[in-house]
Amino acid sequence: MKCSEVSSLLVDFLYDEIPAVERREFLAHVEGCASCSAEVKAMSSTLGHARAALRRPLAQDPPARVRERVLEAAQAALAAKASESAKPRTARAPEPEGFFARLWKTPWLVPALGAAGVATVVLLVRVIKNPQVIPDQKPALTEALTQPPAEPLGLHQAQPRPETESKPLAKLAPKQTQPKEPAAEFDHNRDAEPKHAASAGKLHLATRARDNPLPSDRKLARSSDERSGVGGEAPVLAPLGQATVGKGGGAASPPYRKDEERLGAVAKVGPGTVAAGADSTNRWAEPPPPRAAAAPVGSAAAPAAAQPPPAKKAKVVANLGEIQQSAADEGISRSAEREKAQAPMRPPTVEHAAQAETPADKKAANKEPLSFEERVRKAEKLFAEKKWAEAEAAFRALLAQAPSNPAAKTWRERVAAAELAQEQARAAKASKAHTVDALDGL
């Protein structure tokens, strides 16, 4: 055995936990090794000193108060345990209930649920009977009829006119000093602008100039008459007028090009046909002037272009009466010729129409020109808001007052459309009521 092994077995030797065989080897080595022998003796002596010290009584015994406190605590624990064991037999506090348990026991829960169910049923029945209560839920036919106009029809005379209209006017237009326009793109139309200006009365232009509620871009489209009336007096408006006339020359600005295209489409296909309706479907969605631009022309093509002509819309238009029927019968070439023939003789504006009436009416129109326009706007507004009955009455009143107005045809169309819309609404309501009754019967 080596000295290192003796050192590792020293504790086992001191506590007498070394196996017998190893013990003999251990002692044999220690007897022959002085250093190991001294180490074993020293460690044995140290352990003896320590044991003697640890086994001697301590200077102080454990304090008696510790025993007292501990026994008091033990007794209290027993008492608490006894009281806890007695509690379940007598009265144990109920466990706190959850939210849903308490809700279920609430007395008003059943009435509240019942009321909510009744309300739901009522709402569903109402929706089934009248789907229009749901936003964006409109019958297609009604929507086609009630597409709101982008602009009051009574103001159509303010829209730029197509070439067929402007050229005859240009012949009568006196030469005027060319206005100073900032836009170079209108330069090639300068010659046409004063010609067209001659067709518009200064009275009308003055009225338009002080009453111009439309947005700026709309002003551009409407001001063909205005700038012609102002002429050199208002150079700022001159470019607009030039643009209006210039569309006839094929170099018009985009809004006027739209008008031209529309008119061209109407001339090629003809109003009231499915093809024309398909072509003008997009235009129907377009807000502004195209439809209005055709109206003052007064031809049969104008109302057709102003109508919603998609396939189903064309069908609706066909039901509108003699106006649509006559428009469908007319060919576009014929209408174009008639446009050319009638355009110089037709009063292009409401004011012109008013001037063509009796002197008394003319005075009245001069005195209150705005009231008529406001009435037209109001009628169109009612029509746009789908107040069919009121719109019908308003248009009828306008027709009664100014039956020869260029927009009279459109007004008649509005009246017919309003009547048809009311009729169809009543029919739809009746059919849905019948459906609901049938469902209720099931």
Binding site: S7, L10, V11, D12, L14, Y15, E17, A42, M43, S45, T46, L47, G48, H49, A50, R51, A52, A53, L54, R56, L58, A59, Q60, D61, P62, P63, V66, R67, R69, V70, L71, A73, A74, Q75, A77, L78, K81, A82
Partner: protein, 202 residues
């Protein structure tokens, strides 16, 4: 009636059985705690805490668990926590021990040596035992708990190994290191006492 029977009786409401348990283990636990923490007030608090924890956890005690082991486990855990909390005060304690080894210590060793040559059995005085206590208190925590478990609580090395979570050879190694430290301390005292005795002898 063994410890487990007493504990079972206490669980059934026998307070006298618990008192008997306290009487059986109080002195040994006190001996262990007192030497481990080397402070009477702290040892008193720890002793009380050991029995209070037994009272508190009596309902969870299972008869298969040995009561003495349970008691000592509680005591050891309390001592370990306390020793860690007071670790920063160890240096101060060591200084106090060194101060205590002044003239009086030398005289006591001298008295021991003069009274008898058998220091292990006959002549060890009360104050020398106090010095041993201090030397034990200066042992590192791992060596101290092994030494006290073996010498005070009479636990086997296997039990100590299970208690401290180490292997048995590791526990024996810690015991050997503890004895070597104690031997070193006692050797210094013997050498000092021998020198003093030589100077005092004409």
């Amino acid at each position: 009636m063994n410890d487990e029977a007493l504990m079972a009786a206490y669980k059934k409401g026998d307070l006298a059985a618990f008192a008997e348990l306290v009487d059986r283990h109080e002195k040994r636990l006190w001996n262990f705690l007192r030497r481990f923490v080397r402070d009477e007030a702290t040892a008193e608090d720890l002793l009380q805490e050991v029995f209070l924890r037994v009272v508190k956890s009596a309902a969870d005690w299972q008869p298969s668990a040995k009561v003495s082991t349970w008691l000592f486990t509680i005591a050891r855990n309390l001592c370990t926590d306390q020793a860690r909390r007071a670790e920063f005060r160890r240096a101060e304690s060591l200084d106090q021990v060194k101060a205590g080894e002044g003239d009086s210590g030398l005289r006591r060793i001298d008295q021991v040596a003069a009274a008898s040559g058998d220091a292990e059995t006959e002549v060890m005085g009360r104050e020398i035992a106090s010095l041993i206590d201090r030397a034990v208190g200066e042992l590192p925590l791992e060596q101290r708990e092994v030494f006290l478990m073996r010498e005070v609580m009479d636990m086997s090395f296997a039990e100590i190994a299970a208690q401290v979570g180490a292997s048995e050879p590791t526990v024996k190694s810690r015991m050997r290191y503890a004895l070597q430290r104690l031997r070193s301390k006692l050797g210094e005292l013997h050498e000092t006492a021998g020198a003093a005795a030589a100077e005092g002898t004409p």
